[in-house]
């Protein structure tokens, strides 16, 4: 029998072999997915267990002290008010977001809706280059270039509104300040926000834009009324990534915003953020398992909690926004 058709038992065997292979692949994929879960769980476990030993020595009231907050875990007179570090983390992140989100969004809209193919070919590699600049370079750019520039601006503004005084009688912007660090952090997250937002906007089907043009809308009206709402969840995702990146940003703030843990909400001051503190402590030699050592982990846990809260907020927002329109 030179029949090419398979007999029923043969087909069964083939399907069985196929099934075994499929199951193997599914298992492999599951393992890959689980590995990230395991790593995350491991990190959380270490952070939490070290924090537990921290809180066995420091009362919660001291940690959440808002009345007279100080953060001096390495001094003899120890204070552990985490708000000291959280405030500066929020300030630098706030400045960075105020720069990075508008700029990133505008660039994304321009690239996706207005730019010609040639312009895009020029701008995209430049943005990628910006994304590839090491953060320590950004840090020194903030300290050496942006800070002197901001100092002159702060001085100029004062001289404009209250002229006639001697130059040194005016307020001087400190050499370490959160404003410059935040501005440069904002610049550093522009490529992240613009590229993800642009992808989301370009994924909006062209029929949707055509529908808008067909009712007589301009390109600008189409971008804001049709493309942005259609791409909103991708755009919000890019914002969240940008904010999380800023919250955890270390080198720029460590170099440009100073390492003094000062409680302040003023962007013109210099102050250490959570991550600045962590590198500062990790650089020095502290005893493994000591209280000082535990503070690193409790600070890290605070940072993780902030990032997590950010992600949850973003999740909630993108759901809300989607329901509203």
């Amino acid at each position: 029998m030179t029949n090419t058709a398979l007999s029923l038992p043969q087909i069964r065997k083939l399907i069985q072999r196929q099934n075994v292979f499929d199951q193997f692949v599914v298992l492999a994929l599951l393992a890959a997915a689980l590995s990230s879960v395991i790593v995350t769980a491991g990190i959380l476990y270490i952070l939490i267990s070290e924090s537990v030993s921290f809180f066995s020595q420091v009362p919660l009231g001291e940690f959440f002290n808002l009345v007279d907050p100080k953060w001096t875990p390495l001094f003899d007179d120890k204070n552990f008010a985490i708000i000291t570090l959280i405030s500066s983390t929020l300030v630098t992140t706030g400045v960075s977001v105020a720069i990075g989100i508008p700029m990133g969004t505008i660039i994304a809209i321009y690239l996706s809706e207005f730019a010609t193919e040639q312009v895009r070919e020029w701008v995209k590699p430049i943005l990628e280059l910006l994304a590839g600049v090491p953060s320590v370079v950004f840090g020194y750019f903030a300290l050496q270039t942006v800070t002197p520039f901001m100092q002159r601006i702060v001085l100029g503004v004062q001289m404009f509104f209250a002229p006639g005084r001697d130059e040194f009688d005016y307020y001087q912007l400190p050499g370490f300040n959160m404003l410059s660090a935040g501005i440069v952090m904002g610049i550093s997250i522009i490529p992240l926000i613009s590229s993800i937002s642009e992808d989301a906007m370009r994924a909006v089907p062209k029929q949707m834009r055509e529908g808008s043009f067909a009712v007589g809308a301009t390109r600008l009206q189409t971008s804001f009324n049709v493309v942005l709402p259609a791409a909103i969840s991708g755009i919000i995702a890019s914002y969240i990534l940008g904010i999380s990146r800023s919250l955890g940003q270390t080198m720029i703030v460590a170099v440009a915003a100073g390492t003094q843990p000062i409680y302040t909400w003023n962007p013109l001051d210099g102050a250490a953020t959570i991550s600045t503190f962590i590198v500062e402590v990790a650089k020095g030699d502290i005893e493994h398992g000591s209280l000082e050592y535990n503070t690193i982990f409790v600070a890290g846990l605070a940072l993780v909690a902030m990032t997590l809260a950010m992600n949850l907020l973003g999740h909630y927002l993108s759901k809300r926004v989607r329901e509203v329109y």
Partner: protein
Amino acid sequence: MNTQMNEVRSESEVNIPAFRLENMSIAYSGNVAVSGVTVDIPQKQLTALIGPSGCGKSTILRSLCRLNDLIPGVEISGRVELFRQDLRQMEAITVHRRVGMVFQRPNPFPKSIYENIALGLRVNGYRGKIDEMVERSLQQVALWDEVKDRLRSNALNLSGGQQQRLCIARALALQPEVILMDEPCSALDPIASLRIDNLLNQLKQFYTLVVVTHNLQQAARIADQVAFFNTNRAEGRIYGTLAEFGPVVQVFSEPQKQETYDYVNARSN
């Protein structure tokens, strides 16, 4: 003053065609899709475009409302007039405001049902009551009763047929001079489709309508004029030409060409 101008216009323009195409050809990146179309599309009538798939009906429709401007590599030759004006010299936005379009696939905006209609009114600086216009145009497409309780919910949650009726309502709300429709009923059930047919029959007293359809019965029900496009082959390339144009009765019962006869009687060669 305005009314005077309108009167002068309407007297001299009452018999001019809405569109005049002279030897119009359209190519995508050098590949000719439609070639040498010469036709006058009369105003305040419904002209149906029929013909086999790929003969360039959508292509022509998109060129008539200048949407092909957006596709890189499209070349148009010949002359196209919209009420005596050279369509290709006009501002694209002006054309979009005077010529409405309903697409082959429903494409509502990712917004609420209400906003889908209000948006077009707003960008055109509509002065009347938007609420009333939204209701009126939804009534016209027989969608009002189905959606009046959820005007604020997302239009993308509607069924395909409801979305298409919303898109028709969106075009109607703007009261353009001409409405182009690319297979407006292909996503509709027979009842809804019949409702649209009745609507189109009413609308053609006020508007110039150009409707692409694969449904010959529909064409017979709604059309005043029929343009039959056919596909041709040359050097391995396929392109469309206008094979026959005339009043609906003539095209369906006494076609001048064998290819038209074959198509309307659903015979393949």
